[in-house]
Every structure is written in structure tokens, then in C-alpha cells.
Subunit: 428 residues, 2 copies
Amino acid sequence: MTTALLTDHYELTMLQAALASGAADRRSFFELFPRRLPAGRRYGVVAGVGRALDAIEDFRFGEAELQMLSEERIVDDRTLAWLADYRFHGNIWGYAEGEVYFPYSPLMVVESTFAEAVVLETVLLSIYNHDSAIASAASRMTWAAGDRPCIEMGSRRTHEWAAVASARAAYVAGFTASSNLMARLRYDVPTTGTSAHSFTLLHDSEADAFRAQVDSLGRSTTLLVDTYDIEEAVRLGVEVAGAELGAVRIDSGDLGVLAHRVRAQLDDLGAHDTRIIVTSDLDEFAIAGLSSAPVDGYGVGTELVVGSGHPTCGFVYKLVAREDDHGRLVGVAKKSTDKISIGGRKYALRRLSPRGVAEAEVVGIGQPAVNDGDDRVLLTPLVKDGEVVGREPLKAARQRHLRSRGELPLVARQLSKGDPVIETVHER
Amino acid sequence: MTTALLTDHYELTMLQAALASGAADRRSFFELFPRRLPAGRRYGVVAGVGRALDAIEDFRFGEAELQMLSEERIVDDRTLAWLADYRFHGNIWGYAEGEVYFPYSPLMVVESTFAEAVVLETVLLSIYNHDSAIASAASRMTWAAGDRPCIEMGSRRTHEWAAVASARAAYVAGFTASSNLMARLRYDVPTTGTSAHSFTLLHDSEADAFRAQVDSLGRSTTLLVDTYDIEEAVRLGVEVAGAELGAVRIDSGDLGVLAHRVRAQLDDLGAHDTRIIVTSDLDEFAIAGLSSAPVDGYGVGTELVVGSGHPTCGFVYKLVAREDDHGRLVGVAKKSTDKISIGGRKYALRRLSPRGVAEAEVVGIGQPAVNDGDDRVLLTPLVKDGEVVGREPLKAARQRHLRSRGELPLVARQLSKGDPVIETVHER
């Protein structure tokens, strides 16, 4: 499916006017970057890179798209002809997926003609703004959860395709699984799930329901124990499945208190290996609050898919430099914006202490003056002469995230509001 | 494209266990409803109905989906065979699109076998929770804007397909247009757009850029005037396009002060009909705050697509009644939830005063005891024996929203936090 119309109307009218003025072919640099982190957040997480590369490859105007643009007179014939042949021929560098970021991190640098780059603005921003918001929230949750697995189950609380992207982004940021089957088909994200309250209510008794579930899904299944009375359900679950019962899930009430009670009961019943999964309106704070409770896994729904208070990142995509009539590259910027964003192709380094702890985000134009070897280069080639070169397995992004987050000063793990944990240094 | 895997894993494992236990075929009623409005909101707006009907028709397990479910051993062969033949044969009633809603409004009532209804849970909730969150925010914005048009331009700040649904939902709730071209192709939502700062920066001077835009897009275009100096840009715009200049757009700064200044300047230049469009981080409060400024249109981005603080609705989809072995319908409910949600097929009425002002949301089971003629019936047939019967043009939803919102007590228009404007009355 083409991504070409996941685009703001003005990208195409600008294109038309630029084709007419002759400026459309000026070599240009666009940059995708955040001016700030969401208030109080100490770091952000880049996600959506792989999806963005797919979207660039799928950005083609087919018959249906061109017909609509023509019939509705959105652009003129010259522009239609140009769009019919569209493909991106330029170069893109960017932060690799899973990397952490800070204010003014140049997450993506796009070099091509103005025309080829400007039309990608909307879809690139949509993907990065959404997926990174989810990954940034997810990372705080998995860090708070420590060694305990986090399972993404928020599909029902967000747009049906945003749900798929959310499952993917959460996986990048350390979630172990999702409930979303399309994320499994499309991105190989592991999925899990057993039953809901409706399954218990469908049967004449909880015993009937538990027997039906264990018979069909096996003793290692997870029984939902809070439809009626938790203590009775736990007793019944072990009666039905034996001590091999995989897990019980608690989806309501004071999860900390209940987890302690259920653990004691399970142990009394000899079900020492039966795990306890909790799943009621969790966010990173609730997860942290349950760290001393005997919980074996967290299912996170709504707060993951809404970015735990920050459902979008506020990334922008700005023209930062373009050729003039003499072929010289000229830095450009809107008057009222921070002049920091001028310039051509950026570099970006994570400055590390000799012990490997992140100390600064170093951003500049051209080549870095000094790289003493401890600095880590952040921009990698994603597209070269129109060909995608930055594709990688999702697991690589997942591993990168752990490494990148692991470099941050420990204060990054604090959930309280604060400034970015490292400063962004603009080199000239 | 099939919607079948936009589904939580547990829907299918439950299905497997219910097919095995024999309970899968029990006639069941599921209900999709909110337990509350988002904190402080006075009413909500139903959107996504048309999309949900599409999703039900497209809910088919094709080869790719079945192969994945089989290879990854997510369900057994019997379940795979059942899914291969899946189509929904039941009945669905619901609030029509654009209707306002309140706590416990039975937005959708699904009657079918347990098996056929349970698998639709995730995708129906995704669509309703997302689209209604956007429409609910949009309605506050258009009400605050009064007769001035609101234009949706938030695509870049949300998932690329959520953007399309957002444009659609905003249109239902009174927005006049969107920037999103896919929303135009797919849903006939009007779109608009002219140019961004990058277009001005691409050219050697603002004069070059304005001339290029006016030459290509005509004098009725909207010029973006805040790239460098607003006063100079307004002067230049009228010089280039004449008094026929369609509009100027201001995207930064103190919009109220600037609108007054720009209006005075335009009038001085004889451009009395040139409109002023403002577009910087607007929400319903900013729109209301600009009501006395000479603004002719509002472009709303981020705050629209994130639901202005409430990006999801918290709708749930609950089994409320099902057959027993004797074919009798039994009301069911989780112990800890409000017993209000028990029962079979609901009715819902908007109780209206003789002057047509909404007084209560009346919800009950079966047939209403009394309907004095002033009450408005809220549940309409959406699907009958598996056939979609509730499809309608999007404009019908848009008109319905205006009528439905117009019935509310005037306090509903207040943006300050408060209780739902009418009470939900549960009839027994």
C-alpha cells in the first residue's frame, strides 16, 4: 500500500509552486529533530526508523492517487507528471532505532532536491512522532520493571494501526511481548494472551471456565482470577491445573496487597512456580510502586499507547540549508526560531566518559573538530542515492536501546520530573 | 486489507477454549460503553461508526493470517477452520455517528454467538476509542470557534493512519477541512493547504517566494507571513497579489495582538477581504481566547490529534448477557464492576424538555416503559443478520452532530471542567 497520500495538502501545492519557480531542484538539507524533550522527561527514545524506511520505499503515486489529485484539481498537470515518476534519489542519515536522544539531536538528516525531500515531511514526522513517543514511555516502564517482563496490551485504547506500531515501539524499548497479532505477523513481535473476564462469564461457573481453559490451553496457561472472588479463584485454579499452573492474572484492586496475598496462597497450595501477572491501569510509576510486591510480570495498556502523558514528541522537519543559484550551500532558518538549527549536514556524537558514561550530546555541522575515541558517532547511513541501506532486524534496535540507555547517568532512571540527563552541546 | 489480526491474542485463545467447551455458540450480548467521561468533560462525541462497519466487513482471515496463526501455533486446527469461515452473522445496534454521549451510554450493542462477537472486541474498541476521543476534542474546538472555520492540520503529530481517522473524526465534529490528502481520497473530507516556511526559505528572498506562490496558486492563495518580519511580509503580500490576496497565515507569536495589527495593516492597504488564519499550537482554550481578535480561521494541529489532553475514551466491550443451557438469556457481570452494566439488549433515550433541551440520558433493558414523544431514540440498527445496514454519508454524521450538540443545555459549551451536562438515568 502506498504511503504517498499520508501527506499534507500543502506539501504538494508548495511542490507545484517550486517546480514553476525553478527552485524545486535546489539541493537541500532537511533535518528532523526535537526542540525539547517532553516536560520533565530525562531522555527520549528513537523509534519508527524501520517503518520510516518502508514508508519512503512505498511513497509512490499510483493511478488512484493521481486521479484524485487531478480530478480535484489539487495540483497542475506538470506536478502530476512529476509525482507519477516520484522516487526518492537522495541520501538520509539518522540515529539508529532504539538510540536515546536529547534536545536538538539531529534524528534524521535528508539530503536531496527540495522537491524530493519536502513531500516526505508529513509521513516521516507522523511515524517518528508517534513511535518515539511510545518507545520513550515504554523505556521508562521497562527500566522501572527491572528484570520483570512488561507485556504490551494497549491495542484497544488507540487507533487500530497505531496499535501495531505501538507494539513494535514497545518491543524496541524492552517490552518482552505484545497482545497484538498484526505486530507479530508484520514485525515478528512475540505475542501472548489467554482469556478475559467474558470467558469466565460465558460459562455457567468459574470452575467450568477454568476447566475449559486448562483443557484447551494447557496447565501452563494464565488464569484470570478476579472475575468473582480472588481467593476462591486461586484455590480453584490450582485445583484444576495443579501446581503446574503457569500464572494467575489480577486485573483490579490494590495490586500490591493482592499480589502478596495471592503469592502466600499459591505457596501454601504448593504452586511455588505459578507466576503472578498484574494488569490494571499500570504506568511507570505504578510499576515502580510494585517493585517490592511478589509480581512476576506487568501488562501495560492505556498508558503505554498514549505515551504516559506525552502521546507525541513534537519533532519538526525543517529546511536547514539549500543551494543558491551558484551552487553554494546556504544555511537558512525562520527568523523567530533558534538559530541553532542552521547549517548543512550535521554530525552528532554521544560524548562518553572514560568509564563509558554519557556526558553530553555533541551536535555540529560538517566534521567534528575532535573525537577522542570515547565519543560515539550517532548518525548512520539510512538511505544512499535513494536505496535503503539502514534496514536491520528489530532485535538489533532492541539490543541497541539497552546499550544506549545503559550508558546514561543513573539519574536517568529516576521517574521524577527533571531536566535532560545530559546537555546538548552545539559545536561551531 | 483485512482487519482480522488487529486483534488481541487472547481473543483467539478464548475462542479456542470456548469452541472446545461448547460455549462458543451461546447467544450473547456484548456492549461497548464508557463508564465515565474524561475528567472535567461535559459531553462526549461518538465517532468511528462508519469505520467500524467497514472493519467488521473486512474482518476475514485470509491465507497469510491463517498461515501465521498455524505456524506459530497460536490456535489449534479446529479454531483455524472456524476462523477461515469467519463472518459476522449477528445484529448490531448503536448510537449513530456524531451523536453525543454520556457515562454508560450503550454506544454499541452486539448480539450474536459468543464466538462471533468476542473476536471483534479489539478492533471495535480501537476504532471507537480513538475516533471518539478526537471528535470529542474537535467538538469543543468548533463550538469555541463559533462561525469561524476550524481546519485540521495535525497529521504530522500522530500515527500516519491515525491521522487519516483524525481528519475524518474532526470533520464529523464540525471542522471544515483537513490537511490530510488520504482523508480526502478515502472519506471525501475537504482539504486545504498552500505553503510552509521551507518554501519561503528555499527562495532567495521572501519576494521571490511570494511571487512564485501567487503565480502558481493564484491571488486567492494564503501566504505564510511570519518567516522573517510579519509587517514587511504583509506589505509584500499585498504588493504581489493585490487586494485580492486570499489570506495570510500567522504561525507564531502572540496571535491576538498580531491579528489586530495585521488586520489594521491589511485594511490600510485596501485588502479588506484578505482573511487572517492563525495556526500555532491552538486548542479550544486558545480558540476561545481569540474570539475577540479579527481572526477568520483556525488551523489546529497537535491538540486535536491528541484529543486535547484525552487521547483515548476508555470505552470497554463487555459481555452483559448470554444464553444458558436452556436457551434462557442470563445477565452477567464481573463482581467488582458496577452492576449497572448487566442485562440484555439495551434501549437508550435522550430525554428532551418540551423545548427540545436535553435533560437526561435514559438507559434500560428491553423496551422503554414510557416514551412521551419528546424522548429521542438513540440506538439505531447498524448490522442486521450480518449485513451492514447503518452506513451513511459522512455529511449525515456531521449534520447529526450539530443537531445533537445543539440540544444540550448551554453549560455544555463551557470549557471549564465540570460534570456531564446531563445525568444518566438507569431504568429498571
